[in-house]
Symmetry: C2
Subunit: 821 residues, 2 copies
């Protein structure tokens, strides 16, 4: 058996959310204070990790002694100034919501384990983030915390028109006397009470009653072509899956599916093994008996019926193409001639003084130097950052992923029809445990993330890492005839990695000593490839019958700037060539350049692309907060490691589901009704999705308003042989920086003591070495440490922890649970 059981990788991921782990019918009541074991465990784990990494050999402490310990301190446990209002629900809160929901007879809910295709079930229970208007009064003022509500997603299938319903349940913790539910519609602009149709409702029967029978109907051909079948049998060696989103025009729901070889090894190589045979189905409606088979495609020839296809196939003129077969070329283990000296320990970053930052584990609140922020996490978009401040002054209210699009193209219907909107699968559930020493330095601090699935909460331990590191280049330097001055470029990283099916997205937020921030994504994992046949215009020929299928990655981020409050504007400043005469130029015209400045006046001009030749600076400023020289204090948005917006115009796959992908930078006024640029189920109704981003742009003023930037990272990816077996993060990168623009009075990095100035005399010898209080070799201070080559105990890699929420027993939270990873 291969890695997937007759289901597309992404479908498999989605379906995992529907697989319940144990059937139960006992309602447990919430208890006053649960054990929250992973909460304490992770602190312990961090300590163990650090101790494991740096075994002290301490002979003394303190400054100016000859020996000191390398690991002075573990990460400092601090107390957040306010509770994290973007945090996760507690086990008790979640369990309370679930129990209460099952008690609401009008919701007609069935436990997921027992739920069939015609039952309603709970798809998601998680914290509802407060509206910004409510949040500001709390985090900036003396208001009490906003009431806590649960965001619940119901999967209502007990109807011929199945739909997902977003509802709000609360206030929390649940009190039967006050708890209510109401449709959650205000954050979405579809205008139908927070519902969207569910095209996936019959996924259970789809394979059994439709896909596999079709596979069986041409078993003679699949056996002849590939010596295999896709009939739902244990010994199938073929897999079938298809497009996402489904085609939704003219009131019909159309699938295109294709055959794939199931990997023969344990590697995740199926997306490299397409076989080039496609079929079309009209699966409109919930009655499989009314679904229609619409035809076959092979070698760019369309056959309307199976009979026609079979007749041609067994005829004398049929051209059979070769298959894509699994093998070492598709497997990521070490292979090929080993590199010289490579079995020696490689260069490694260490933290000789331990972690130089503070964290409130419970509130997921972090302070590094004068930066601070809260970490949020949710099912759709994974990790997010909130209330990012420098020295207590907020720069960003929110910095978060919104949606990720992978839009393919090709001459075949599979590639042509694919435009993954990945929050459908969710970045939260697929933010797996990070590998210490590989995904992040071994000395990093790792924290957990949790998500709800099937009446349980799953916890991925160590799925977010935080660490300070140092760049391979300094942040500042200058040499003169008298001195050299250089400053280390230490920076702080927050990272999570989400593997959504075939792709691994590494999300990195970095904070720098000069007040700048970098947002970066690097991609690895397996490409989704195409069968190579008549599709030279859509990719490179990269293996036997394989095309590296061209696709655009576009990842939308929300950056809700608050520059000295919420009265912000967007200034553009462009360097333009010009011809000028001056009082001193004696009438001569000079070919030179100058700056042209303007403001985005309204949302009508709020959608823009990076200017050619990088000529335009985009700066979020506060027009009422000029510095003493009269310049607006602001933050500039700066391209860093490349970006991309969507190549396709008016995509037939996406229609209105991803208008956010059309430009590089898009500015709107912040509204509680526009918290996110997309909805996880936009793919279910692309013509009328829950959130149509284009509707955000309704002409409102962008001057002195609460500005939100929706920015796109991404890349145009045309995989070549170097993407086999996996894409490499050296060149699969995208990033944007935020940098102070006249925000501070000078360069903030002058504050660090991690710098040196060496003065030299006329004979070139050093006459002064100023290290600003750092411990130096001149102090004869060394510290001893033991270096363990692969530092972390990788046998401790565990995957997730499941806490059953229904029935919920706080004293036995693991009651009848299994883990998924």
């Amino acid at each position: 058996m291969g890695l997937f059981d007759g289901i597309s990788p992404r479908t498999l991921l989605a379906s995992a959310l529907l697989l319940s782990s144990a059937a139960q019918d006992v309602f447990a009541r919430p208890a006053p204070e649960p054990k929250v074991p992973w909460m304490r465990n992770r602190n312990g784990a961090a300590k163990k990790k650090m101790a494991n990494h740096l075994k002290r050999a301490v002979e003394g402490h303190g400054r100016r002694t000859t020996e000191t310990a390398c690991a002075d301190s573990l990460v400092t446990e601090i107390t957040a100034p306010k509770p994290n209002i973007w945090g996760e629900l507690t086990d008790v809160e979640t369990a309370g919501v679930v129990a209460w929901l099952f008690a609401q007879e009008d919701l007609n809910l069935t436990i997921t384990e027992d739920a069939g295709a015609w039952d309603n079930s709970i798809q998601l229970v998680e914290a509802m983030w407060p509206n910004k208007t409510d949040a500001l009064a709390f985090i900036d003022g003396n208001a009490t915390a906003p009431s806590k509500y649960a965001h619940v997603l119901l999967n209502n299938r007990a109807t011929v028109d199945p739909y997902y319903a977003d509802i709000l349940v609360g206030p929390l913790p649940i009190d039967n006397a006050t708890a209510t539910w109401e449709p959650l519609s205000y954050p979405y602009n579809k205008g139908d009470g927070g519902t969207v149709r569910n095209l996936d409702a019959d996924s259970d029967v789809l394979y059994a009653e439709w896909i596999f029978p079709i596979g069986a109907s041409i078993a003679d051909i699949t056996l002849d072509l590939w010596n295999g079948t896709a009939m739902g049998l244990d010994n199938d060696t073929l897999d079938i899956w298809g497009i996402d989103p489904l085609w939704q025009s003219d009131g019909k729901i159309i699938r295109w599916d294709t055959f794939w070889n199931i990997p023969t090894g344990d590697f995740d190589s199926e997306t490299l093994l397409p076989l080039g045979l496609y079929f079309m189905s009209d699966v409109t409606g919930r009655d499989p008996s009314k679904w229609k088979f619409e035809g076959w495609l092979y070698n760019n020839v369309f056959y309307s019926t199976t009979e026609e296809f079979r007749s041609a196939y067994w005829g004398s003129c049929f051209k059979k193409n070769t298959a894509n077969e699994d093998g070492p070329w598709a497997q990521s283990d070490q292979q090929g001639e080993p590199l010289p000296m490579d079995d020696s320990y490689g260069p490694t970053v260490i933290a000789p003084a331990g972690s130089r930052f503070g964290i409130d584990h419970k509130e997921k609140y972090v302070e590094w130097q004068d930066w601070s922020f809260y970490i949020g996490f949710n099912r759709d978009t994974g990790m997010s950052l909130h209330d990012i401040r420098y020295k207590g002054e907020r720069l960003l209210y929110e910095l978060s992923l919104q949606e990720a699009l992978a839009h393919y193209a090709g001459n075949d219907p599979m590639q042509s029809g694919t435009a993954y909107l990945d929050t459908f699968y969710g970045f939260g559930p697929y933010a797996f445990e990070l590998v210490q020493g590989y995904d992040c330095p071994a000395y990093a601090t790792f924290i957990n993330s949790s998500f709800y699935v099937d009446e349980t909460t799953h916890t991925h331990i160590n799925s977010i890492c935080l660490f300070e590191t140092t760049a391979d280049y300094p942040i500042q330097r200058h040499t003169t005839s008298k001195y050299v001055s250089v400053t280390k470029n230490n920076y702080f990283v927050v990272r999570s990695v989400s593997t959504v099916g075939n792709y691994d997205y590494t999300f990195t937020y970095s904070f720098f000593v000069d007040g700048s921030i970098a947002v970066e994504v690097r991609a690895s994992g397996y490409i989704q490839s195409a069968y190579f046949a008549h599709n030279e215009d859509y990719g490179f020929h990269i293996h036997d019958s394989l095309s590296g299928s061209m696709h655009d990655h576009v990842l939308n981020f929300k950056a809700d700037f608050d520059i000295l409050g919420t009265s912000n504007s967007v200034q553009l400043m462009t360097a333009v060539p010009s011809k000028e005469t001056y009082p001193w130029s004696k009438g001569q015209t000079r070919n030179t350049m100058k700056l042209e400045r303007s403001f985005l006046e309204t949302e009508d001009d709020g959608r823009l692309n990076w200017a050619p030749n990088g000529a335009t600076q985009v700066i979020v400023v506060n027009e009422d907060e000029k510095n003493k020289y009269g310049e607006y204090r602001g933050y500039r948005v700066l391209p860093y490691t490349g970006t991309a917006h969507l190549t396709v115009k008016d995509s037939s796959n996406l229609e209105n589901a991803a208008h956010w992908a059309e430009y590089d930078l898009q500015f709107t006024v912040q509204k509680d009704t526009e918290p996110r640029s997309a909805h996880a189920y936009n793919s279910q109704d692309v013509f009328d999705p829950p959130v149509d981003f284009a509707k955000f742009f309704d002409g409102e003023s962008l001057r002195k308003e609460d500005i939100v930037l929706w920015m796109n990272l991404g890349m145009h990816h045309v995989p070549h042989t170097g993407d086999l077996p996996n894409t490499v993060m050296t060149t699969a990168h995208s990033g944007i920086q935020f940098m102070p623009s006249n925000y501070f009075m000078g360069d903030l990095s002058r504050r660090t003591v991690q710098q040196v100035r060496i003065n030299y005399g006329t004979d070139g010898g050093a006459i002064e070495v100023e290290t600003f209080g750092q411990l130096t070799s001149q102090d004869n201070v060394t510290c001893k440490l033991e270096f363990t080559p692969v530092e972390a105990d990788l046998w401790g890699y565990t995957g997730d922890i499941v806490v059953r929420k229904f029935p919920f027993d706080p004293n036995d939270p693991y009651f009848e649970t299994g883990s998924i990873v």
Copy 2:
């Protein structure tokens, strides 16, 4: 006294080359084999450094033991396959050339120390790189090494029309019987026998006879305005310097100069202290008595004569602006509130196994993993890389800086007239010693560089660093339901930093395990600012009377690709939106995208910019070398950390001196007559410079030719308050990558063992940890090291070593020399 003695920083730098250290009239003869002490010393220094950094505490060696040494090996000394034909001249060779030149009476040369403004002197003696046609026969075949010649630059001032003359002297070593000199003209396209006029010939008298007398003529005003003078006195507190290049239209040579405050401290802050008073001089010709004073400019008002200016100044309506004064805001030392936990040791990269690469110090030849290359160095452009190969197959014949432009603009004549072409000053002489642990990791291998000046060779020790390090993110990863696979992103860096006056350019070439290469520049140091007066359109107001003067940095690099030989082509592949119907789309038109491919046919279309939205891939391919799937093997040129070309169109300052700055990417056919895109003295005759890059484009075919890419890095810099005191390298960056495009059959990074695969069972626990032969914590292998917080002994920072070449005594090479730094 301040840092500069009445000379502009860049003029100071240039003049340093003219200051001889001791008068001598004794000709020494070359001896058979000199001591080359720095050659051996640097090896010793490297050992000392490494030993200093990682003091071993070794109890055992070998694999699978419980303890081993952290520092297994220093950098391995290897032997280059061939001598470095881009290397420097030996002391004996240089001394021989100098002695021979002084013996040629027709050259009429005077020792620099003795040379006045009307004498001829030797400006430069360095190795002439061989023509590529000759070089290939040697490095790829069995031919003997190309004959060695010296490139000599003569500063011929014993004439009313002073000029620089490039000549070729050789063959080397000099034999009086065979040695000849000839004009060097073939690498330049000016067509006048390798000469260019010298506008700097009278710099000695310029200040004494022109600038300071003008300063004195308004001492009443400078004392009143700024309580200071610029008259050439020891107690002057003001400095005067001006535009570069000089204005050269209509047969006239025009200067604009301006006043600056001399820094009151030891910091290099003068370029932050402009005073806003400018004057114009016609300095055409060599007779100062015929030079003409042309007028004053203050507060945007032009005064034709000093009398007119004085009259206005002392009148009642004159508006006096405030001065820019030195202070902590302009000084780079630590200042401001110290950062939390910042006096603890920061994160640090270590090399537990020592250096995992090889170097031939003598030939400056490096091997890391399967990469290899030679390092060249010259006066104009500093460090360069040659014959870059992967597994013995050359990818690039040459990768080198060509020229760097800093083009300013402003309403004042100083900023408007400034467009520095930095190789005039030279990147070689200003590649100073690097600071260990700051500019490069302390464990890096540092090598020296040398340059000729005034009959001596100066050596900057430790001015190039080489090190392997590891990125803060992996190169590859993938998580599935059964395993996680992650690979470390170790890479190799070659770096030098050149401080050309106010700016520090950090040049970084990085080599990656997947076969990709990155070329990056990051800038720090002091900005050149403008006086703030009516120039809002040219920069931000960043201090009292200070404008952060807008300017474009454009840095041209030569990348001479040899993809499987020299028959290369440039393919463009663009992702374009398209409307398509397919055999299976039932007549419906789909909005999608596809690839359009084309080749650059001739040099006529060889000049291009990065496409909007990064839609176009630029790939250097070998059309005759398809891989087994029929795809061209090639290397893609990929934007990385941003680039820029020049904003100004048809610059009045540059005219024909820097046409290379006009596009992002420019492709030509390699020619021995077009080795470089610029000449160090292009600024001396901007209408008719020695090298006019535009002339390279003469319609030749670019198909199956030896392709050279001239690519521009750069940034549009509008300094804000965060550039004070120094620009920071977090956001002042530019970079381009080269990545394999179907060049290899798969991802090369699979070869490294620095990866891990962890398999887990259904309960989430690890069931296999495959580390591919790396030493791991499971092997119970640790190693001990002592960590010294500021690792290097910074008191060892020395600056350069001078070896006198004329007179030259190999047994006393330091005879009567001083050092400059």
